[in-house]
């Protein structure tokens, strides 16, 4: 909280730089003059390709990594100077199967972390039971984590991140390894967190997930913030640049596809295989129709890749997103 009584941003990052030493070379800049603000109760997506600097940002916010320059604050507290006061405010969840005590049960894991977040025995037990129910692991509470599937471990991770009752959640690719049903439940859970007034910084490669969940989305690449957008922009880009993949397409047919309105280009991806890229909403439909009428049956549609959306994002409105 600030002195004026206005709640400080849940996360506020200014001019953040992080360099890593590289053996026998110049340092690698993982974050480059990065700015970000997340309001209390906001679900903020951080979208970027591999190596963009997402995890580096999460590590700095979670106080396990020092910035090279710039500042990062959590609810107004500096993550370097006030690290001790920042830690209780945060919940950390990262993807994958690690970070759990495999031989302990799900409930024991949560009770362990409840204690580390300052809760006594009784409160720890209560929280563990409640959170296990919440993430759908109630029936497996007393089984060793090593017997869990990937998605189940991921759910337990989420519960672990919530055990300290955090005001700010850092979710670094939390849905890696989840099946679509779990991913859907995850979305509901994030909605609940938002309703409870918690801020969420959600790192992901999954544009559909970001679009569905986030109040705002920041695009990061090469450690720099490309732009911060309303997720609707993302949704629009996703449908506008839908792609059609087909195989068994003769050259003449490919040429006809290329001439259809809204088709940006037709790329050959193998013998007889093509990838049709569109740049207008609804343009995929005539492409599909043409293919099916020509007797091509191996046809599928897909959203554009993150890289393509990037190109369009930058290309559509000019390169100068950020000085």
């Amino acid at each position: 909280m600030s002195i004026t009584g206005i709640e400080a941003p849940a996360v506020e990052v200014r001019g953040l730089v992080r360099d890593f030493a590289v053996k026998g070379g110049p340092p690698r800049r993982a974050l480059d003059d990065f700015d970000l603000a997340v309001a209390p109760g906001e679900v903020h997506g951080l979208l970027g390709p591999n190596g963009a600097g997402k995890t580096t940002l999460c590590k700095i916010l979670s106080t396990v990594l020092l910035p090279t320059a710039g500042t990062a604050r959590v609810q107004g507290l500096d993550v370097v100077a006030d690290a001790k006061r920042v830690r209780p405010l945060l919940g950390i969840v990262f993807g994958g199967e690690r970070g759990l005590y495999a031989r302990m049960t799900a409930a024991q894991n949560l009770r362990f972390w409840a204690a580390l977040y300052g809760h006594g025995r009784r409160e720890g037990r209560r929280r563990a039971a409640e959170l296990l129910e919440r993430v759908g692991l109630g029936p497996r509470a007393d089984e060793a984590v090593e017997t869990f599937s990937r998605g189940m471990k991921q759910r337990l991770h989420l519960a672990r991140g919530l055990v300290g009752d955090p005001r700010v959640l850092l979710l670094d690719e939390p849905t890696v390894g989840m099946d679509p049903v779990s991913a859907h439940e995850f979305r509901d859970l994030v909605e609940d967190l938002r309703a409870e007034g918690r801020a969420v910084l959600l790192t992901t490669h999954d544009m559909a997930e970001a679009e569905a969940l986030c109040d705002r989305v920041s695009f990061i690449d090469g450690g720099r913030l490309l732009r911060c957008e309303d997720p609707r922009v993302l949704g629009e880009l996703l449908s506008r640049h839908e792609r059609v993949r087909a195989s068994g397409v003769p050259e003449a047919l490919a040429a006809r596809l290329a001439a259809l309105p809204g088709v940006e280009r037709v790329r050959a991806t193998g013998p007889g295989a093509v990838l049709v890229e569109t740049d207008r909403g609804g343009a995929a439909l005539p492409v599909l129709r043409t293919l099916v009428e020509a007797g091509v049956t191996d046809v599928s549609t897909a959203p554009p890749s993150l890289e393509e959306v990037y190109l369009h994002l930058i290309g559509d409105r000019g390169m100068a997103v950020r000085p």
Partner: protein, 263 residues
């Protein structure tokens, strides 16, 4: 921080680690049999090479050293935290990692005290060492002291192993070999030159083992207690070193980024 809750939960996590190392059966018929064989081997060697006195010296040394051996495993189990991927989460947790790492390997103290005591008490009659009830109780209490005080040495090696991950097996092995040589286990400490004796005195095991020998030899209680106090005192220094090394590791990791999510 709710230190009691942290301790309780950490000890519980250590207990599950112990159960993954041993089942009661493998402890009794794997580990314990190995311990007994080892102690019999050294004691017999003493009987063959020297006299009954030498055999008893080696018996006590080898048996008590089991407690030292096992508590040095705290070094390895400290690094298990990295293997489970919880190190970054501990570093980011309000309670921090000091208490957790200090307490998580407690089970080696328990197992070490138990196996060492069984070896000494069970084998003593075979090598002509007569221990009355009082002697036996004193020996067990002092073996517990040996395990507890050497645990600090194990923790110190563990902290260094976290910092120098690639050398993680080196520290405890070097420490163990050094202690075997100089702490009066196989050869009396007085065998070594004065400088080396001073060096040996830095290890709690030297004093704790001497305390056991004195107690068994019915030395005055004051002499036994003096050695016990020296063991506790040197152990406190090692504990401080362990905490310092851990702080060093954390500062360094925050600076270089050597703790990753999932580490």
């Amino acid at each position: 921080m709710n230190a009691i809750a942290v301790l309780r939960q950490t000890m519980w996590s250590g207990w599950t680690d112990l159960r993954s190392v041993y089942t009661p059966t493998t402890w009794a018929f794997g580990w314990m049999v190995r311990v007994l064989c080892q102690v019999v081997f050294y004691s017999t060697l003493g009987a063959l090479l020297g006299d009954a006195e030498r055999a008893r010296f080696l018996l006590v040394g080898a048996a008590v050293f089991i407690a030292v051996n096992e508590t040095m495993m705290a070094s390895a189990s400290t690094t298990w935290e990295r293997f489970s991927g919880t190190l970054s989460l501990l570093a980011a947790a309000p309670a921090g990692m000091v208490v957790v790492l200090a307490a998580r390997s407690w089970f080696w103290v328990a197992s070490g005290t138990l196996s060492s005591s069984i070896a000494l008490l069970a084998l003593a009659p075979f090598f002509g060492l007569r221990l009355g009830l009082g002697d036996s109780l004193a020996a067990v209490a002092l073996i517990l002291l040996t395990a507890l005080t050497n645990y600090a040495v194990g923790l110190c090696c563990g902290s260094l192993s976290l910092r120098f991950h690639r050398l993680r097996n080196v520290f405890s092995n070097i420490a163990l070999l050094t202690m075997t040589a100089v702490c009066g286990v196989m050869v009396p400490a007085s065998f070594w030159p004065a400088g080396l004796q001073w060096f040996a005195a830095a290890f709690p095991a030297s004093h704790a083992l001497e305390a056991v020998r004195l107690a068994i030899a019915d030395a005055p209680a004051a002499a036994v207690l003096a050695e016990a106090a020296l063991a506790a005192g040197t152990s406190a220094v090692w504990l401080a070193l362990a905490a310092t090394a851990l702080g060093w590791f954390q500062t360094d990791a925050r600076r270089t980024g050597s703790i990753d999510f999932g580490d």
